[in-house]
């Protein structure tokens, strides 16, 4: 007689699908001489000044918790920093320092979503939004954006997907994985939809500093939107500080307070060392950010040109560090293309379908790699495409 061991896992854990990126990660891991354009973080290291500030803080023994909301001097600098985007928040009541912007998104979902609530998630998009909705007990509603409109979210897209019934809408521009950005006019359509249907907006603006042809616009600056928006940003992408895990959320006092109530029990406070690095980053690293952005911009133009020359249609992505070309003629399936490419030419990129509806037939290409690697990768892709 055997006793059957039932899975200790909750239904929630069991039902969480493994990320579609996992398989490519495993393929890439076993490969020598791989060039990866599949990386979702900068190839630069954090600016040296920020790193030395972290080291200094450790030397001085600053290894304790901070206030739940984060150090006040950091919150003040954050409030001052975001004023460049015409975002104005009170450091005491409207700013929450989080462990990466990801934690902020998770907190907001849990603070705003009741079981059964519908959360509209435009796709293709970063892979975490859907699962955080589910963890909060909500129902993710996929809102498909289209290649024909360069993956900008439109009023029609929202209407067509039935987003009117949603209580929360996620927005991520500049976008991972497409590199798309949204102008003030384009955001105005989304804002109109949100106001009409009383939808709260979670605007993930982690790539705000990486916008190449014009200035970033936050939806929270549009009429009637500040009170129905939480803005997320952080230090990972602009300051190349991904591993330091530090972000922040900006929003109306009631919502930030609700998020902080959860944060105080689950996180207590965000990493102290990272907070010191972040203070220095905001104080003295604007030039380093500008240099990185210039470098990204050159690579961006290089990569877009090469893909278009190869006959892989690539719209002019104007933000983040991704482009989102189509598979070359003759390849319908992005996953098959990506798999053949990594096996035969040792170039890793991520199939678009991993990022949800509308990603099929596309490939996410990260240009967070040096020019030498980009050249090698594009040469290999060229020989792969031309050999068929």
């Amino acid at each position: 007689m055997s006793e059957e061991l039932t899975s200790p896992l909750s239904k929630r854990a069991r039902q969480t699908p493994p990320s579609g990126i996992r398989r490519f990660f495993e393929l890439a891991e076993e490969m020598d001489d791989l060039v990866s354009l599949g990386v979702g973080e900068p190839d630069f290291s954090a600016p040296w000044a920020a790193r030395t500030a972290a080291i200094d803080s450790l030397e001085k023994g600053r290894t304790s918790y901070t206030a739940n909301r984060g150090r006040r001097d950091l919150r003040e600098r954050i409030a001052e920093h975001v004023s460049r985007y015409d975002l104005h928040y009170d450091p005491d009541e409207e700013v929450l320092v989080t462990t990466g912007a990801s934690e902020g998104v998770d907190l907001a979902m849990r603070a705003l979503v009741d079981p059964g609530d519908v959360v509209a998630v435009p796709e293709p998009s970063y892979i975490s939004y859907g699962p955080t909705v589910t963890f909060a007990g909500g129902e993710p509603l996929s809102v498909r954006t289209r290649a024909e409109t360069d993956f900008v979210l439109t009023y029609d897209d929202l209407e067509r997907a039935g987003a009117a019934e949603a209580s929360v809408l996620v927005l991520c521009y500049p976008n991972n994985p497409t590199g798309a950005v949204m102008s003030r006019d384009e955001l105005a359509e989304v804002a109109e939809f949100a106001r009409e249907h009383d939808i709260f907006v979670l605007s993930d603006e982690i790539y705000a500093a990486l916008r190449y042809e014009d200035d970033h616009v936050s939806i929270a600056t549009l009429p009637g939107m500040r009170e129905r928006t939480v803005v997320f940003n952080g230090f990972s992408k602009a300051y190349a500080m991904t591993g330091l895990r530090l972000g922040y959320a900006l929003g109306p006092p009631e919502v930030i307070d609700g998020m902080n109530r959860i944060h105080q029990y689950t996180m207590l406070s965000s990493p102290t060392t990272a907070q010191y690095a972040a203070i220095e980053a905001l104080e003295s690293c604007d030039d380093a950010v500008a240099e990185m952005r210039t470098e990204f911009d050159r690579r961006r133009q290089f990569v877009i040109s090469r893909f278009n020359e190869l006959g892989m249609d690539c719209f002019e992505a104007k933000g983040a560090f991704y482009v989102f070309p189509q598979c070359p003629p003759g390849w319908e399936n992005d996953e098959e293309f990506a798999e053949a490419l990594i096996r035969e030419e040792r170039v890793a990129l991520v199939p678009g379908r991993v990022f949800g509806a509308g990603g099929e037939g596309h490939l996410r290409v990260s240009y967070a790699s040096g020019m030498r690697d980009l050249r090698t990768a594009l040469d290999r892709i060229e020989s792969f495409v031309e050999s068929r």
Partner: protein, 162 residues
């Protein structure tokens, strides 16, 4: 940024990249890049293209010294005249008029310390306007023209990430 200025930045970061690759990064065509390079050269803005060499990794004698020079001017002789006279020696890698305690900073290169000190004492010191030379031999170079010679930062990123 103006295209010519951007081109200058690209050449500063890597002068060996192909015209086509430079064109792609600037979003212009290759012919335009050729034209701009010609202009930069004709204007004298770009004077040359050189490798950044870490001589410690090259298997041959190579010595560099930074030489401080003090000079005395008179009615007929100005800084320009002295500079011309010094700059034309092939041993002089760079020559700058500077502010502060001395007048000229000269980088002198040679195959050995003997070469360099001989050059300074026999060719530079005897120049009538030169009143003093102080020679500092370079013992080790850590960074040259923006290129750090130590180990760079590790790239510890995962090969594929969201």
């Amino acid at each position: 940024m103006e295209a010519k200025r951007e081109l200058l930045d690209l050449l500063l970061s890597d002068a060996r990249q192909s015209t086509e690759d430079i064109a792609r990064q600037l979003g212009v065509d290759a012919a335009t890049v050729e034209e701009l390079v010609d202009e930069l050269e004709a204007e004298g803005a770009v004077r040359g293209y050189q490798a950044v060499v870490d001589w410690d990794s090259v298997d041959e004698g190579h010595v560099r010294a930074e030489v401080e020079l003090n000079v005395e001017l008179d009615r007929e002789t100005g800084y320009e005249d002295i500079a011309q006279r010094i700059a034309k020696f092939s041993q002089v890698a760079s020559l700058r008029l500077i502010s502060g305690d001395y007048d000229f900073a000269v980088d002198v290169e040679g195959d050995s310390m003997h070469d360099v000190s001989n050059f300074v004492s026999e060719q530079i010191a005897p120049i009538p306007e030169v009143t003093q030379t102080v020679t500092h031999f370079v013992m080790r170079t850590y960074k040259e023209r923006g290129v750090y010679f130590g180990d760079g930062d590790d790239d510890d990123r995962l090969a594929v990430s969201p």
